[in-house]
C-alpha cells in the first residue's frame, strides 16, 4: 500500500506541524489521523491532500510518501517500528525519533534531531542533516542505541551526541563537536570535523577528512591501515579527561593538531 501525503497551502505557513501520527502502521486502519498545527489539533486531511494506492495487510507493506513543503513538519516517523516513509523534499525536526524499525528516506535536507534516541531501523538523508543528528535528549544519559543513520551531505553541530549503539555515517562534513559524549556505536565522517569526540567514553569514530582543533586529551596509540578505504589512519584513545576508552581514528593525510 502506498499513501501519498501532499501539503496543502495554509494561511500561516510558518506554524510548525507536529505529525507523530505519520507512521506506516497507523495507515493500515485508514487516514483518519490528526496532527497538531501550532496549538490546534487538525485532521490530517486539513493539512494534506491524501492519496491511497493499493492495500496492505501488514504495516511493513505500507509506504508513506510525503510531498510538498514538509520542512516544518516535525516528528514524522516518531516511534515508527516498520514500513517505509519516503520524503521527497526537506523534513522538519525530530524525524524518526525513537524509531525501532523500518526505513525513512529523505530526498532533501533534514532539520535538527534527526533520528534522536533511535533504537533500530534505517534513516537515509540525501541532503544535509541539521544539528544534533542521531543524538540524545536533554538530560538523558544515552542517545541513539541502535540502527543506522546515513547522511549523504553534511551534518550540523553535536552530531551523534551520546551515541550509545548503532551506526552513524555522514558522507560530508560535520560541524562542531561531533561524537561528543559518545559511549558506544560507530560514527563515520567522510569529510571534516571540528573538535570531535569530546568526553568520549567508548565506541569508535572515524574521520576521513580534516580534523580541525583536535582536542588535547586524546592519546595517539598507533596507525592502522584500513584496506576497505585504502587509507592509513592515526588511532587515538580517549577522551582521557573522562577516563575514556573510545577510539578515534583520523586520516593521516593531514596533520591532526
Amino acid at each position: 500500500m502506498r499513501v501519498i501525503l501532499e501539503t496543502k497551502k495554509c494561511s500561516k505557513p510558518f506554524l510548525p506541524i507536529e505529525a507523530e501520527s505519520i507512521i506506516p502502521r497507523n495507515f493500515l486502519k485508514g487516514t483518519d489521523l490528526t496532527v497538531y498545527e501550532g496549538n490546534k489539533e487538525r485532521a490530517l486531511s486539513e493539512l494534506f491532500w491524501i492519496f491511497v494506492e493499493g492495500t496492505a495487510v501488514s504495516p511493513d507493506k505500507v509506504e508513506v510518501v510525503l510531498k510538498g513543503d514538509t520542512s516544518r513538519v516535525k516528528r514524522v516517523g516518531e516511534y515508527m517500528d516498520t514500513g517505509t516513509i519516503r520524503i521527497v523534499g526537506d523534513i522538519g525536526m525530530h524525524c524518526g525519533n525513537f524509531m525501532s524499525g523500518g526505513l525513512i528516506e529523505i530526498g532533501g535536507n533534514a532539520d535538527a534531531w534527526l533520528g534522536r534516541e533511535m533504537l533500530d531501523g534505517s534513516i537515509i538523508c540525501r541532503g544535509n542533516a541539521g544539528h544534533y543528528c542521531a543524538s540524545g535528549y536533554r538530560g538523558e544519559k544515552h542517545g541513539m542505541k541502535g540502527g543506522r543513520v546515513e547522511v549523504m551531505g553534511n551534518a550540523g553541530d553535536f552530531c551523534a551526541e551520546y551515541l550509545t549503539g548503532g551506526e552513524v555515517y555522514i558522507h560530508g562534513s560535520c560541524g562542531d563537536m561531533a561524537g561528543v559524549e559518545m559511549k558506544g556505536g560507530q560514527l563515520v565522517i567522510g569529510g571534516d570535523a571540528t573538535r570531535p569526540c569530546g568526553n568520549m567514553k567508548d565506541g569508535t569514530c572515524m574521520i576521513f577528512g580534516t580534523v580541525h582543533r583536535m582536542l588535547p586529551t586524546f592519546t595517539k596509540t598507533g596507525t592502522q591501515l584500513l584496506p576497505d578505504h585504502k587509507v592509513a589512519m592515526e588511532v587515538y584513545t580517549g577522551d582521557v579527561a573522562n577516563r575514556g576508552k573510545g577510539t578515534l581514528m583520523v586520516s593521516s593525510r593531514v596533520p591532526a593538531r
Binding site: 553535536f158 560541524g175 562542531d176
Partner: protein, 129 residues
Amino acid sequence: MKAILNTGRTIPQGVAVEHKGSPGYRAAVSVCHMNPVDLMDLGIEEGALVVLTSRAGSIVLSTSASEEINRGEVFVPLGPYANHIISAETHATGMPDFKSEPVDVVPTDKQVKDIDGVMESIGGVRYDH
C-alpha cells in the same frame, strides 16, 4: 577589515540600561571598541564612525580604542546596536553566537542612528510622546 565581534556587558551600559531613552544609554551601546593598531590600519582616529557588516545586517557605530581588545576582534556592548548584526542562528542550543560573529569593519561617513531609528529599520514604529 575582517574581525570577530564580541559582545558583553560594560559598566556604562549597565548604568544606563534602565534609562534607555537617555543619550547616555545610546552612547554606551553604540560604540565599537577595538585595538588601537586596528584603528590605525583602518586609517581612522578614535571616535570616527565605522560600519560593521555581518551575515545578519550592518550598523554604523562610533569607535573607541582599547588595548584590552585583541587585534582582529571588536567589542560592542550588549544592546540594540550589537544585536542588529548578531545572527540568530543558535546551533539548536537556543543561544546565539553573541561572542563570535564574523564582521567586516569599514570606515563610513554615514551617521549613527538613534535607537528608535535602528528599531524602525526592523519594522518598528517610533513612539514620541
